[in-house]
């Protein structure tokens, strides 16, 4: 069967390949999204001191190490049975808000956004941050660079390094904030808010006001009705750092609400032989295949779904934008996946406003940022979760009495979305590729846009290592009937 290969996937984090099979009429027969990488964190952390997990799991991903660092630190709080003092908790959340601003900005301007800002059919050599700067000018381009720079400087001061922070400990954070740092944090937060509003304005002008893009967003090319997942606080408002994990069905009805410790009661994983990445799904609904709908256990955890599970947002400007967002789509959960780009910018604004709130909170300046654990290890293990920019992130550790890891399970942001990304790629290919129509490079890029909206982090997703594997090969005839099976154990 003729096939078209996209290799490698670009403007994302990690390794991915798309194989598109065409039938005799040139229509799409099937699409496979393959993740060809894997490193094995869940194995090689066994034997390591538990307190090393925040700096080891950082290296799952150099784009979102802050997410792993905090999920790991929270899992350690649970594992060592120690509660961080309030100032430490607030510093962690402040640090995390700063990270969210810079990471979401990076995705919009550097990774996913160029498709809209420069255009999906623009020459490949222009579809990147440099093309964006050429299009929107050095004024805005300079602000993007300045945003990333000022936030990375803060991450360095609060966490030790701009990439791969070091400060997370069970029971706290390794450094306190000084009063003389407060004015700069507050000023940076205000600049972040202005930058977020500018970005939403740009989205309005360049995307929503462009009929072709608007139609694309509202079309069924990138539409999937699935369950939505996110983390909410006690008032059902989105929170990136902590809360309850909430799942709603395609119509918006609550399907689950749980503390991260119970994740295994709600999530199961499925293996396919053509990709190293597993497919999580909702255990109680069950796996029905790569299909939409209430009966299918496929779910997503993205900026879009996080807005779907939140009754409202906790900060005023972001809440206003959320109301406008919802009005555009007419109520209920939003399933038009390209709208994730818009949702991401609303989250950017919320993160900036939250950063300001925390920067102005006098309690964050308390010198008490550590509680020393007794050293006793929780026999039930430790679980910690946060919302990574790319989805709900859960770290689960078990350790021996000396605090060495005996077992680790990581359910990572993008992994939540593996099934829906595969479905999105297939749908986009089916709608865009037709017999007789030449497959232009821009068309293939429009198919890639179906994964880019998820801001995938495939290094994150493929932390696990299979080792030597028994081999089962199943041969099928063109009608799909099994003709022979070989096994090597």
């Amino acid at each position: 069967m003729p096939r078209v290969t996209i290799d490698p996937m670009t403007r994302l984090e990690g390794h991915g390949r798309i194989e598109i099979f065409l039938d005799a009429a040139g229509e799409v027969e099937n699409v496979y999204f393959q993740v060809p990488e894997l490193r094995g964190f869940e194995q090689f952390v066994v034997g390591r001191p538990a307190e090393d997990m925040p700096v080891i799991t950082n290296r799952i991903c150099g784009v979102c190490p802050e997410a792993h660092h905090l999920a790991a630190t929270k899992a350690l709080d649970d594992l060592f049975m120690v509660e961080p003092p309030p100032a430490a908790r607030k510093i962690r959340e402040l640090f995390y808000s700063v990270f969210f601003v810079t990471d979401h900005a990076t995705h919009f301007y550097v990774l996913g956004g160029p498709d809209f800002i420069v255009g999906p059919d623009a020459p490949a050599a222009q579809r990147n941050i440099l093309g964006v700067i050429e299009k929107v000018g050095l004024g805005i381009g300079g602000q993007v660079i300045a945003c990333r720079k000022r936030n990375h400087e803060i991450l360095k001061r609060l966490g030790g390094r701009t990439i791969h922070p070091a400060a997370g400990l069970p029971g706290g954070w390794s450094r306190a904030l000084r009063a003389d740092e407060q004015p700069e944090l507050e000023a940076a937060a205000r600049e972040n808010i202005a930058f977020a509003e500018l970005s939403l304005q740009l989205f309005d002008q360049l995307v929503l006001a462009n009929d072709a893009y608007r139609d694309l967003i509202l079309s069924d090319v990138y539409l999937h009705r699935t369950y939505s997942m996110g983390t909410v606080d006690g008032e059902d408002r989105l929170n990136f750092y902590d809360g309850a994990i909430r799942v709603v069905d395609p119509e918006g009805r609550e399907a689950a609400r749980y503390r991260c410790r119970e994740y295994q009661e709600h999530i199961a994983e499925r293996v396919e032989p053509w990709t190293y990445l597993k497919f999580p799904y909702l255990r109680r609904v069950g796996w029905k295949g790569f299909v939409d709908g209430e009966e299918s256990g496929v779910y997503a955890s993205t900026p879009l779904t996080r807005l779907n599970v939140s009754r409202r947002l906790a900060t005023p400007k972001a809440e206003e934008h959320l109301e406008r967002f919802r009005a555009t789509f007419g109520g209920g959960p939003v399933h038009h996946r390209l709208a994730t780009h818009w949702a991401r910018l609303i989250e950017l604004l919320y993160a900036a406003e939250r950063m300001l709130e925390l920067a102005r909170d006098p309690e964050i300046l308390s010198p008490e940022v550590r509680r020393i654990p007794s050293g006793e290890i929780n026999p039930a293990g430790g679980v910690g979760s946060v919302e990574a920019p790319r989805g709900t992130l859960t770290h689960h550790y078990e350790a021996d009495p000396r605090g060495r890891i005996t077992r680790a399970n990581l359910l990572v942001g993008t992994t939540n979305n593996h099934a829906v990304i595969a479905m999105s790629l297939k749908r986009a290919a089916e709608r865009l590729i037709h017999g007789g129509k030449p497959i232009a490079e821009g068309l293939l890029n429009r198919i890639e846009m179906a994964f880019r909206l998820y801001d995938p982090c495939l290094s994150c997703a493929t932390h696990a290592l299979p080792g030597e594997m028994p081999l089962e090969v199943v041969l099928r005839d063109p009608a799909g009937r099994v003709t022979e099976t070989f096994r090597r154990d």
Partner: protein, 326 residues
């Protein structure tokens, strides 16, 4: 008019941190692209594999290759980029020494199928990913995993290395600026973007040549902010780590974890660290004892507080450790 030299950045089995270190050049990126063309970098630009294959040998002036060699695909790309590049630089701890992914070598490749694909996963037919899979439409391939994780230099000739996990952006800038300047380059094989001595030389803490009675875990205490961490009994990799990062982690009250690899002249970073730990231990209570067994017990007891020396001391360059399994 001469066209700009072509630059490529590619990731093997890494984490993308080196790509973000590149993006964190910030405004210097704008100046860089005046002088060089970033023609291939899957993180940031849309060039595909066929575009690289279509290049002439040596068409790329400079390739920064990060990540460790874990899979067959990683090795293929290392060979492909070596052919197409005049200069190939191993960027970051993974490419230079194996990095965090090479911690897998402490366990061996054979250990984990059960754990990942069967244990804790609904998998009634025991499906596992395969190097070749026949699906109804055709055959799909996945790259196999090598037995060991290797640094890039074990697979292709490397011209230079930039250590760090990731390399500090300021140092990365200095190296890139050197390459586009046209100035003569250091001798092949040099380690760039870092110092020749240890991280201790960059650390502002006070050293008083104290000896320690025993070692402490980071969560057990709030360290004195001025005094050397190692002298407080915290296992800080500083003495066994190449400088270049500015000793950032000690500046936030956490020990160095060795991400810049061994200093100049040291091959095995974890051996160097074990030797440092031995040197710093207070032997006064042991001095004068005759019984070898008792001496061994006492030393053991002091080192016992470090629950995993291999992992602590060999986190980033485990591929070089004498203790590695093959």
């Amino acid at each position: 008019m001469e066209s700009k030299p072509k630059l490529a950045i590619y990731w093997s089995s890494g984490c993308g941190g080196c790509e973000i270190a590149f993006a964190n050049l910030h405004e210097r990126l704008l100046s860089l692209v005046q002088r060089a063309d970033l023609v291939f970098c899957p993180c940031l630009v849309d060039a595909k594999r066929q575009d690289v294959e279509a290049m002439a040998d040596g068409e790329l002036a400079l390739t920064l290759l990060d990540g460790a060699i874990r899979t067959e695909e990683n090795e293929e790309w290392a060979h492909l980029l070596r052919r197409k590049s005049r200069t190939l630089v191993a960027m970051g701890a993974c490419a230079h020494g194996g990095g965090i992914p090479a911690l897998a070598n402490l366990h061996g490749r054979d250990a984990l199928l059960e754990r990942v694909f069967r244990d804790g996963t609904e998998n009634p037919l025991s499906v596992v990913p395969e190097r070749e899979v026949r699906v109804p439409e055709g055959v799909l391939a996945l790259p196999g995993l090598h037995v060991r994780v290797r640094p890039v230099a074990e697979v292709v000739d490397v011209d230079y290395a930039i250590p760090g996990c990731p390399p500090e952006s300021d140092h990365l800038w200095n190296v890139l600026a050197l390459f586009v300047s046209g100035a003569p380059l250091p001798p092949r094989g040099a380690v760039l973007g870092a110092t020749a001595s240890s991280a201790c030389a960059e650390c502002g803490r006070k050293r008083s040549n104290k000896r320690v009675q025993g070692f402490r875990r980071t969560w057990e205490l709030e360290p004195d902010p001025e005094q050397c961490l190692l002298e407080q009994g915290i296992v800080c990799m500083g003495p066994a780590t190449r400088g270049g990062c500015g000793a950032r982690c000690p500046s936030v009250q956490m020990p160095c974890i060795g991400c810049y690899g061994p200093p100049e002249g040291v091959y095995d970073q974890s051996a160097k660290m074990v030797s440092t730990l031995g040197a710093i231990l207070d032997i006064a209570p042991i001095r004068g004892l005759r019984d070898e067994a008792e001496i061994a017990d006492r030393v053991d007891a002091s080192l016992d507080a470090i629950p995993d020396i291999a992992g602590v001391a060999g986190k980033f360059y485990p591929a070089r450790s004498a203790g590695r399994r093959s």
